[in-house]
């Protein structure tokens, strides 16, 4: 019996009565996230959730990490996108299993979609799963998936205010990646200021500066995640 189920109150005709429901709508997602977490632990698989806006370099970062970690870990990738499988195909070139998750219209992955995706993988043959969330800096923060660590990627091409404009997703991050530092000068963005914003909002997170296209800094991200 669900402990949330309160006693049934019988009504008189036309009587108005209140039901104390206390039903937490986000709880269902959190519960499934916990189930995902224990499933992954049972198979000794580490899952890393990679979040960030569209175009910040999430896929390029994941590809870079795969290049560094292949051979050391058996890796799979879950790739959330509204519709296409373009990124999923790009990742599959690295000869790792890729599960594209198309959310349709939803702006984030949720724990239930990840649970379904986990069923398509052979967990006993894996050590590490990168879960690339839908490009969005707001919603994914509300929906934990059951991952061990969360990475948020921001890049200088979105301008100097991305972190202070979206503080709450950065509070959940274990590692904050500031990408495309090679373009900072052209963009007129101070990387140090972005770093300070990140450190102010979440002093617990490790902040790493990268140029994921050249691979600069990707090794540091891997270290910050405790994978090397």
């Amino acid at each position: 019996m669900n402990p949330r189920m309160k006693r049934v109150v019988k009504a008189e005709e036309g009587e108005v009565y209140d039901i104390e429901l206390d039903a937490e709508i986000l709880e269902a997602n959190r519960r499934i996230a916990e189930e995902n977490r224990s499933l992954l632990r049972r198979y000794n698989v580490t899952a890393i959730d990679v979040m960030g806006s569209t175009g910040t370099g999430k896929t390029t970062l994941i590809a870079g990490m795969i290049r560094l970690l292949k051979g050391r870990y058996r890796i799979a990738v879950m790739k959330g996108d509204l519709t296409t499988t373009i990124d999923a195909e790009a990742i599959s070139r690295y000869d790792v299993d890729v599960v594209p998750i198309n959310t349709g219209k939803e702006c984030h992955l949720d724990a239930n979609l990840v649970r379904k995706a986990l069923r398509t993988l052979k967990l006993e043959d894996l050590d590490l799963i990168f879960i690339e969330n839908v490009g969005n800096l707001i919603c994914p923060a509300e929906f934990p998936l059951g991952s061990e660590k969360r990475v948020v990627v921001v890049s200088v091409t979105e301008g100097p205010y991305m972190i202070v404009k979206h503080p709450f997703i950065f509070m959940d991050a274990d590692v904050i990646v500031i990408n495309k530092i090679d373009l900072a000068e052209a963009m007129g963005v101070e990387v140090d200021k972005l770093r300070m914003d990140a450190e102010t909002i979440n002093p617990r997170a490790k902040v790493v500066q990268t140029n994921c296209r050249s691979g600069e800094g990707v090794g540091e991200v891997v270290k910050a995640l405790g994978l090397m």
Binding site: V9, D22, A23, I25, L26, E106, I138, F168, I201, R204
Partner: protein, 133 residues
């Protein structure tokens, strides 16, 4: 941001409860929304209005939203309270920080992430129909 899908879940949960009680009507729904969720109460109200019109049990019901303040706790010194905001003169805005205002340790969010259906007010049906339940 995802008010539509959240409100759909709210409406489904309310309807399930109303049917379980064999209510004739839902009159009012009270929600609690936390400060640190990404839900805009006005948009939740808007979607509730749209979605409740589609169902005869829900039609005409009101939604009341209580905003719940978010709190943090510092595991180092035990501080419990509001999140500290740092005034950033470069941006002319307040930047929230997880730094503990007391000891500068690193605090954790303890409340403010809820989206709860606290209470619903139902109109009961007559004895004849409720007797079967």
């Amino acid at each position: 941001m995802h008010e539509y899908s959240m409100t759909t879940m709210i409406v489904d949960a309310v309807l399930e409860e109303a049917r379980r009680h064999d209510a004739e009507k839902v009159l009012e729904v009270e929600l609690v929304i936390g400060e640190f969720t990404f839900l805009n109460p006005e948009q939740v109200e808007f979607w509730y209005k749209v979605l409740s019109e589609r169902d005869s049990i829900l039609k005409g019901s009101k939604v009341r939203i209580e905003l719940r303040r978010g709190y943090i706790r510092c595991p180092k010194c035990g501080y419990e309270g509001k999140l500290m905001y740092r005034d950033d003169t470069a941006y002319h805005l307040m930047v929230p920080t997880l730094l503990c205002p007391e000891c500068k340790g690193i605090a954790e969010i303890i409340t403010g992430r809820e989206c709860t259906i606290k209470r619903i007010r139902l109109l009961g049906r007559g004895h004849e129909s409720s007797a079967k339940g």
